[in-house]
């Protein structure tokens, strides 16, 4: 690896990290798991002058549920922690389905969910999952903390709403209204490949009625796409073959895929519909919190 020259700092407090970032301005980057930043630096696609390694910051490796069911994921919680999490396996079917599909075991050992959200890669899996769950990102800067809904957080490909002197310290998934069902499906040409297409579906149901639905799409647009019309088609109804087909079709319509070496736009759109239909069909067939 032969990156451009850069300065490296590894502060021990969030305040110090923020001070360093403020001084570094637009030319500073936060290093958490490093699974995206380091390859970009290797290829010299990214050439930050300052890298602020936050791995020494204490108390950010957690993922835990508040008493009301709100899920909080710290900035240093690794994909592997989530993959092995009994908490997620029992309460978060969409997240539990996505965690083992993130890249490969080596990446999962180091990479972080919050880092993946910040990286804002249109092919990133977690952004779709968190978006489908109505989640948010907590940013900390010189003036304290603020919460940014995931719907606003990603502003474009590889772009987010963070100010240069802010650090994303936590991702938050709100408590469910009812029982969770859902899943994440990803088409890859080989294990560990970036998603050709990924689909996250998160439902909150009361009895058979869908009280809240979130559908988000990976890899089929310039950013993660919230398929709001598809979700709306499900809300307030029970899952039927007709509502599933309507949601699949609406999701495919929301996709903005481009033809590339992973497949044609037409194929990717078809895959969106296929995956929405597959996840929802499983949701309708399986008990709550078990569908994936």
């Amino acid at each position: 690896m032969y990156p451009s020259r850069f300065r490296y700092e590894a502060p021990h407090t969030v305040a110090e990290a923020i001070r360093l970032l403020a001084a570094g301005g637009d030319n500073a980057k936060v290093l958490a798991g490093g699974q995206s930043l380091v390859p970009l630096m290797k290829l010299r696609f990214a050439a930050p002058e300052l890298v602020v390694d936050i791995n020494n910051l204490p108390g950010l490796s957690y993922h835990r549920a508040d008493p009301d069911g709100t899920l909080r994921i710290g900035a240093l919680c690794r994909h592997a922690d989530l993959e092995r999490s009994a908490l997620l396996a029992g309460t978060q079917p969409t997240m539990a389905a996505a965690a083992p599909l993130i890249a490969d075991p080596i990446v999962r050992n180091r990479g972080t969910l919050v880092g993946s959200l910040c990286h804002a890669d249109p092919q990133g899996d977690w952004a779709s999952v968190v978006l489908s769950l109505g989640g948010s990102v907590v940013a900390e800067g010189p003036d304290g903390r603020r919460s940014i809904p995931m719907t606003d957080f990603v502003t474009g490909p590889f772009q987010n709403l963070l100010a240069p002197d802010e650090i994303a310290v936590e991702a938050v998934i709100p408590a469910a209204q009812g029982e969770r069902r859902g899943g994440y499906l990803k088409l890859e040409r080989r294990v560990g490949d970036f998603a050709t297409v990924g689909v996250a579906v998160s439902l909150e149901t009361a009895g058979e009625v869908v009280r809240r639905a979130g559908i988000a799409l990976t890899g089929v647009g310039a950013s993660t796409i919230a398929a709001s019309a598809a979700a709306a088609a499900l809300t307030g109804h029970s899952l039927t073959a007709e509502s599933i087909a309507a949601a699949a079709s609406a999701a495919a319509e929301a996709a903005r895929p481009r033809t590339d070496h992973r497949g044609s736009a037409e194929y990717k759109r078809h895959m969106v519909a296929t995956f929405v239909e597959r996840i929802l069909t499983r949701c309708s067939a399986e008990p709550a919190e078990r569908a994936a």
Partner: protein, 793 residues
Amino acid sequence: MTGPGVAGQETGAYGAIPRKEDARFVRGQGTFVDDISLPGMLHGAILRSPLAHARIISVDASAALAHPKVEAVLTGADLAGRGLAWMPTLSADVQAVLATDKVRFQGQEVAFVVAQDRYAARDALELIAVEYEPLPPLIDARTALAQDAPLVRDDVPGRADNRVFDWNAGDKTATDAVFATAEVRVGCDMVYPRSHPAPLETCGIVAASDAVTGRLTVWSTSQAPHAHRTLYSVITGLPEHKIRIVSPDIGGGFGSKVPVYPGYLCAIVASMITGRPVKWVEDRSENLMSTAFARDYHMHGEIAATADGRILGVRARVLADHGAFNATAQPAKYPAGFFHIFTGSYDLQAAFCEVTGVYTNKAPGGVAYSCSFRVTEAVYLVERLVDLLARELGMDPAQLRMRNLLRPEQFPYTCPTGWQYDSGDYPRAFALALDLAGYQGLRREQAERRARGEYMGIGISFFTEGVGAGPRAHMDILGLGMADGADLRVHPTGKVVLAISVQTQGQGHETTFAQLVAHELGLTPDDVEVVHGDTDRTPFGLGTYGSRSTPVSGAAAVLAARKVRDRARLVAAATLELSPDDLEWLDGKWRVRGDPDRGAGIAEIAMAAHSSLELPDGVEGHLDASAVYNPPNLTFPFGAYICVTDVDPATGEVTVRRFIAVDDCGVRINPMIVEGQVHRGLADGIGMALMQAIAFDENGNCLGGSFMDYLLPTALECPSPELGATVTPSPHHPVGAKGIGESATVGSPPAVVNSVVDALAPFGVRHADMPLTPANVWRAIQGRPVRPDLAVS
């Protein structure tokens, strides 16, 4: 795993012993080129063209030269001043070392920076200003011969088009006659896409030029160190005895480390200029974008048969994309390699193929990735054609193959294009594969699944390779005949050092060759040290590729050992005060006929040969011996492969459920190493069939320039293979062995593709080109296949 009734198998020193070299590799103590560090060593980096085709207006390196850590910058103009801007390729074309006039592919070498460390060398690349005048690139090989195609090689005086060569083999008239009267004819266009061997170790060199002694020492990732030494001498004018090439441990080659690359020459020149050692090691993207690719054959094949399934003939027209420079590495007489073995494993009346090579604005290469000199493409073509014929006839593809396979009594068999297959029992190997697979049961399962709307495929490939190049009367590279030497030194205590001309890149030479010699001399493999990869310490030979090590160099080692044994007999006779005729070689010793308890082994005899013992007239002391082996023919390994896949028609995803591989490579010296080679080759084949291709967009941008886009299969894509073996010894190899290094890479892709196409038969799919990615399979189901060599449209 041993075949039935094999003489010599699993006896003596043969057998599945652990590899001697693994003791250092599993400890991380191998020494690869990038591990070599010399005092005062500098580091090189290459500036590469971002464009596929452009005229170079200017190259300004002044800012790079001003960098405090930069020691030198080489440009094409600098090399031209030394007569080194161009170098000969292994196919007698020329290739730019550093571009002077034009760049002809994305990633082509433009300048070489030499700096005090690698980081500074990379930084300085960004300080070199190159002004390009973009030219229209030639990307689609099928348009290369059009009137208005951009001319790639205007450096060659008088060249008016992009044709590299026209070549053919077989009897056109006879073949056309067979086709004209055949009851059934089936044809198909198929692409064997450009792929890349992607060895885990990229290419690299440490060049150390000594101005005082005039010696040049090169450590490099070379599969052919002796050939490289001769080539460097020819290119640079340095006397050959002043050049030493060392290939230390090599992390995979697969043919891609046979050529001399521009970076090697740049490092050598830079060392001469600076007087200091210069290291250059390319990164992954450089490796994928600029070193020898494989395949890139656009084929039209036809097969003719009787209505009841007797195959009569095959013919093929091929457009071969050679990239910007014709730099394939193969015997000079065969510009399309051994493609004309495309008659396969069948008893045919006639065959004819014609191959046209073209230049395009892509990286040079073509013969790499364990291809047995294009046997890969040939086997793919004929095995797809046989499946297409089976479909046309409504016959089971296994039955059709069994009906047409060559019969054991037909060997040695001369095929319609002239190859003489040395030995084979094809029906036996095929029957074993069908049995291991449970073929009839699989067909029943397939029918049941189809009834449930599930798509399962069963694909067969039966292949014959010709490997072990080769007879020097017919086979040379740049005039160097393809014979190999072996030197055997027997120390007084009977321990042996074998020096060989071939170079392991992971094949296990240090073990297999020790077993070969030990077996001949009644020693253990631990008694034999194998020296290789250093031209100062080993005899001349052309190196390891094309599965030639055991067929050629292995034979040389055996012949040298037999010379030792013959001399040992004379010495033993003198020791025992008997006539040599009174001795016979039995159980690893020279023993007295009729009194086998009396005798001497090599260790005792070696001590005697070095002692004060009076030797008979004409018998030299010591036991050392040398041999050069000029193979009388290639060896022809073969195999029967069956692949079972499951296809999800909604997503196009293919799962390889089972892979059954029966290989016959003659006598197996170390069956474990043979099986390891087969495992590796099956992974290669699954990778090529399902995910690998170096495609280009319309501007000539390489779409496979990293492991994010050029995909290597993992354990999750490769099933645990089910292996079987038959053993049909080669009649002309001293121990009956044939090459195995490439069999599985050659044989497996058509099995996978035949399996997927078989799964998709209910959709009316006749053919789909590799790689069968989910998107490509889905398009095939739609009846709208895509060109895998171009960006998806």
